[in-house]
Point group: C2
């Protein structure tokens, strides 16, 4: 069993209204020092295999095909 964490974030320059809303909410609480917030997604994936090289190739394919929209998002993953 291989565990991996995939992190998907918006590319620089892509508007992030959700991040902006959170930034505003943090200012409205008591955190004026917050300069910027960007929101992304994280996927914890468990793979039923022991082959790390295969897992790496599969995770890349999953990101390209489903987990990330590579037009506007970047992805990284790390295998435990």
């Amino acid at each position: 069993m291989i565990k991996a964490r995939v992190t998907v974030t918006l590319k620089n320059g892509v508007l992030d209204p959700q991040g902006k809303a959170i930034e505003g909410a943090l200012h409205a609480l008591e955190f004026p020092q917050v300069a910027k917030v960007r929101q992304g997604k994280v996927f914890d994936v468990e793979l039923d295999t022991k082959d790390r090289a295969r897992a790496e190739a599969d995770l890349k394919a999953m990101c390209e095909k489903l987990l990330a929209n590579t037009v506007i998002e970047d992805y990284t993953f790390e295998i435990e």
Copy 2:
């Protein structure tokens, strides 16, 4: 300027229908080896300060008050 990444994940035992849907979609593509998917959130936060100890305390407070629902979610953060 301090940059931090906050990761919010569902606690074990909390149902994750979104993760289940992604798991199903990955099976329907060509990834039968996917055993489990859990989805979480990530926040990239920039703080206008140089005081790391203060930043750490502030990030903890932000997570407790806004970024995570600590009834059903866990959070971690790392400061760059």
